[in-house]
């Protein structure tokens, strides 16, 4: 099935969809410009704006459901930015509204949670301003009906991410991490930008409408180039190989940020870009193959990194990389995979945000300790956090009937049908997930207390636990709701297309059973090693494989050897040439202009007689020139 036509729309909640973006943007502006005067109510305003945005999204969703499936792509024209070049408009369709609901709902919960989490931070208002800025930019990214506005949102979330990773910029590690995220993203953004340029050169428009409907008219070589360039952009934003290195460091930001930006929403923008640009990838088989390879490589790499981290947030970050790998893998397959990619994206948004916020709750209780080797036996002191975290854990490893079971297995089944090698690698990834997530849970909540003497863990306040509870409900039931009866695939079909034959759901297919068996084996292995056995307070040296995983698969070392050091050499060389060659020329030119200016300035004597003379001579010149030109 092909995507439906876009219908121009006005009126109703969808007509006011721009409010979704405008409200949090206004919130950010008020909080940033209002300064300390808004300290008292800043957090409440931030929450209010996020919730209001959610209300608009929900009303739009209801209105959208009122249309026949084929008429659910509604375009809203806002204004023409540059005539003939860029129109500013929004596109509300099943794909974008799914993102809007996820972003605003999870975003609102995380806003609420942050009230408690950041209660003692002197800059809480600024934090909420940035969060609001992020929500606005992310909504612009998904609601845009063209690549320019998408890019504006893309850069906006990058900016918000930078500001929030470095929120505690007094810590050098946070400042460095923020810069690293920014620079690595720059590489990706550059790819995206060149991709957008290529799109414009090929299609002479940047509107999704004009580009995607005409994708089949371009040559497959062009489409491959565009697809690969877009993929570079997606890799940067979604922390996929080879641009993955920033995500682990990004955990320096406050935990709600990690939950919202670096787990639930922003890092999934790459998946959105690939799915949204589906027709381009469908016309470029090579690009699709590369997407699947990137996805499968990242899902394994992320999982392996997750096995070796003692920092609870970094272990979760590795897991995020890995789960997004699954989504990218599914998105690379084409129409058969889109619905599962987005469905997994949504359920992942819930259970991963749940676990991140749970981790934040644990850190809150343990004096901001992140080392899991100093946790243990927390299940009794923090029952709500424990139960909700456990639900998130069961969901991510694919425990039957929980969310992840439906969406992740959906991906694995689809991939298996597409290509067996990729399929088995995805199954292997699921097994590793079973191991490292179990390890995380056992080290944190089970076993003996290994707390620091100063730690007095306690359950978090209600403002933090309620979001956990709500998110865990999503982690339980959302997967079944979306996948059973192909509900989500049917809903999404008008926006992204769907395979000719809807997949049937097999509860116990061979692939599913194999996955379950591997996951169980991973969990048991984790129990033997971290649940039953004592966890040493210092990490043992481990084999070279452990070191490999601990060092993020040498990703940073590779970047440093391949890019940083040659880059530094290149910089030195450039500086040398700049000082000797270019500066000489430029300074000479500047001195020349300055000198001319100084000399010409003397003509401005201040004597009115000389001014009059210059006017007279000018008049003579003008008349003379006119006579010459006229008589030619």
């Amino acid at each position: 099935m092909e995507p439906a036509e876009i219908i121009q729309h006005s009126g109703g909640a969808i007509g006011a969809a721009w409010l979704m973006i405008a409200l949090p943007l206004v919130g950010a502006a008020v909080l940033l410009l209002g300064g300390r005067r808004t300290d008292k109510f800043g957090h409440l305003l931030g929450v209010l704006m996020a919730v209001a945005s959610f209300v608009v999204a929900a009303l739009s969703f209801v209105q959208l459901l009122g249309f026949a499936p084929g008429e659910r792509r509604r375009g809203i024209e806002l204004y023409e930015f540059i005539p003939g070049l860029a129109k500013m408009g929004l596109l509300v369709d099943p794909l974008s509204i799914s993102f809007c609901l996820l972003i605003t709902f999870v975003g609102s919960l995380i806003h609420v949670y942050s009230i408690g989490y950041m209660a003692h931070d002197p800059n809480r208002r600024r934090f909420f301003a940035y969060l609001n800025l992020f929500v606005a930019a992310m909504l612009l990214l998904v609601l845009a009906d063209n690549y320019v506005a998408l890019f504006v949102g893309w850069e906006g979330v990058g900016l918000a991410s930078y500001l929030l990773i470095g929120f505690w910029q007094h810590k050098p590690s946070a400042a460095t991490a923020a810069k690293k995220a920014f620079i690595v993203n720059r590489v990706g953004d550059f790819g995206l930008l060149i991709g957008i340029f290529t799109i414009f050169a090929t299609f002479h428009t940047l509107a999704f409408d004009g580009v995607l409907a005409n994708a089949d008219k371009a040559s497959s070589g062009t489409l491959t180039a565009i697809g690969l360039l877009l993929l570079v952009g997606a890799c940067g934003k979604s922390a996929q190989l080879p641009l993955q290195s920033w995500l682990l460091d990004a955990m320096e930001g406050p935990t709600p940020v990690s939950a919202l930006i670096h787990a639930a929403t922003m890092v999934t923008a790459g998946v959105y870009l690939i799915v949204r640009s589906g027709p381009i990838f469908q016309g470029a088989e090579t690009a699709q193959i590369v997407v699947t390879i990137v996805g499968v490589a990242t899902l394994l790499a992320g999982a392996i990194i997750g096995t070796a981290k003692d920092d609870i947030k970094k272990a979760l970050a590795g897991s995020t990389m890995s789960q997004i790998g699954y989504m990218v893998l599914a998105a690379g397959i084409g129409k058969a995979g889109y619905a599962f990619a987005i469905a997994h994206l949504i359920t992942h948004g819930f259970f991963k945000a749940d676990m991140f916020l749970g981790a934040g709750s644990v850190m809150h209780a343990m004096n901001d300790e992140v080392n899991m080797r100093k946790y243990g036996a927390l299940r009794k002191v923090m029952p709500v956090t424990f139960v909700t975290f456990l639900i998130g854990y069961l969901a991510i490893i694919g425990f039957p009937l929980l969310s992840g079971y439906f969406t992740k297995d959906g991906i694995i089944e689809t991939v298996m049908e597409h290509n067996a090698v990729l399929g088995w690698l995805a199954v292997l990834g699921a097994g590793i997930t079973g191991f490292y997530m179990s390890r995380l849970v056992f080290m944190t909540f089970f076993g003996a207390k290994r707390w620091e003497p100063t730690a007095h863990p306690h359950e978090s306040p209600a403002v933090m636990t309620w979001p956990l509870i709500i998110l865990s409900i999503g982690a339980i039931g959302l997967g079944a709701f979306l996948v059973l009866g192909n509900r989500f695939m049917t809903f999404l079909a008008p926006a992204v297309g769907a395979p000719e034959e809807m997949p049937a759901f097999h509860p116990f297919s061979p692939t599913g059973l194999a996955t379950l068996a591997l996951v169980a084996a991973g969990a048991v292995f984790a129990w033997l090693k971290y649940g039953r056995a004592e966890v040493p307070a210092l990490a043992p040296r481990g084999s070279f494989l452990t070191t490999f995983a601990r060092r993020d698969l040498y990703g940073d070392a590779l970047n440093e050897a391949l890019f940083m050091r040659p880059g530094q050499w290149l910089t030195r060389l450039a500086v040398f040439f700049d000082n000797r060659g270019v500066d000489g020329l430029v300074n000479g030119l500047a001195a020349g202009i300055g000198g001319t200016s100084g000399r010409l300035r003397r003509v401005q004597t201040g004597f009115v007689r000389s001014y009059a003379l210059s006017i007279f001579l000018g008049a003579a010149l003008l008349a003379g020139a006119w006579l010459v030109v006229g008589n030619l």
Binding site: Y79, E80, F81, P83, A590, I593, G594, T596, S597, G598, L600, R601, V603, Q604, G606, V608, S610, Y611, A612, S614, I615, L617, G618, A619, L621, L622, A623, A625, W626, L627, V629, G630, N631
Partner: protein
Amino acid sequence: MNGTIEAPTIEYALLAPLLVVFGAAIVGVLVEAFAPRYLRSAIHLPLTLLSLAGAFALAVWQAVKGVPTEPAAMGAIAVDGPALFIWGTILILAFASVLLIKDEEHFVGAAAAVPGSAEEEQALVERAAHTEVYPLLLFAVGGMLLFPAANDLLVAFVALEVMSLPLYLLCGLARRRRLLSQEAAVKYFLLGAFSSAFFLYGTALLYGYAGSVDLVKINQALGSVGGQDTLLYIGAAMLGVGLLFKIGAAPFQSWKPDVYQGSPTPITALMASGTLVAAFGALLRVFWVGLGGLDWDWRPVLYGVAILTMVVGAILAITQTDIKRMLAYSSIAHGGFLLIGVIATGHTQAENTSALTGLLFYLVAYGFTTVGAFAVVTMVRDAGGEAWHLSRWAGLGKRSPLLAGVFAFFLLAFAGIPLTSGFFGKYAVFQAAVANGATPLVIIGVVASAVAAFFYVRVIVLMFFSDPAADGPSVVLPSRGTAAVVGFAALATVVLGVFPQPVLDLAHTAAQSLFVR
């Protein structure tokens, strides 16, 4: 009966905006004559603002009602699309200037007193204030409105004088640095009179050539009269000198820095925005309507003038150390960019419309930013009044970040950075010029913009990256009027930069009717 003169038919409704402004000016003179001193300010201010607002409303009403296609007042005044657009722009800019003037700190108590004399001391002690400023300004604004609408050369000349004479006076009324101000007034007067003579001489020569001062008739004569070409060329050139002088195009730019510097800053703001807009309107009308058939001849000449103007403006600005002089040179350079728009006119209706649209948009964008920038200049003061020397602006960003930020924003708009109104102004004009084959001119324009960007950014660097001097100037709390002007100008600069389409559309609609021929 022989010997009787028929009363001319005058379309009062069409000319209502003009009549309101002139009428208010005359009432202002009466107020000056009969109202007691302590009441004058209280009467003048509302009178002036209301008349400007009323004239603006009338102009809008005129535009909404439909633009006439025939010139009014027996063919002497053309109220067409561009004229109405220019009227609206001038009236808004004048309104802003009046809000700046309201702050009486700028004007001398007794203009006739010798600077530094006992009488001046006395006037200061008595807190005497000249209120003639208001009627004078209204007369000048009336002249500015008439100038671009004048459809015959004599009316244009009268308008030129009505506009200029009050400005000469206003230039000399600065409260501080009185000698500089008076010197500026005398210089402006002498050179202005000199250039008016050129204009009048050109009018006479063209009358000799065509037998009429009516622009339309001159244009018709271009094709039919033969053998008098020298008369025509020299006449047209003389006319051009008079117009280019008001714009401040090189080589007629020398008055600008001295006059802009010496005048009271609100008056500088009015001259740099309103006069420039009016003069460009008149230049367009004379060259399109009156000399439209001669464009093969005037285009190369203006080509040279535009290049010279951009280069002189941009290069001389680099070594300026006085903020007002720097803005004056910046205004010269912008005059050059605007001339590109005049040259970009072509032979088809569509080409002309696109060039004229760009030009009108540029005028609006530049006018607002200029008024805002000069309004900021009025607020940075030290013991001796406004602090003009650039070294005094060092570190201003640390002392009052908001004001310095706004000023930096205006400077970026002057430089034509995207997301400011200046960018779209330049873009629109340059695009039209490229479309009409004036690419070399655009290249020079871009290079000149790059040179100009240097001195704008230099001020920004100075404000934000230097340490403030210990005895540096302080930023006065703005009066409500000044704050409103700065805020409005900043808003206009942002809105026109982010969301230019409505004004572009408006300019396009105005330009579509072109000038009445």
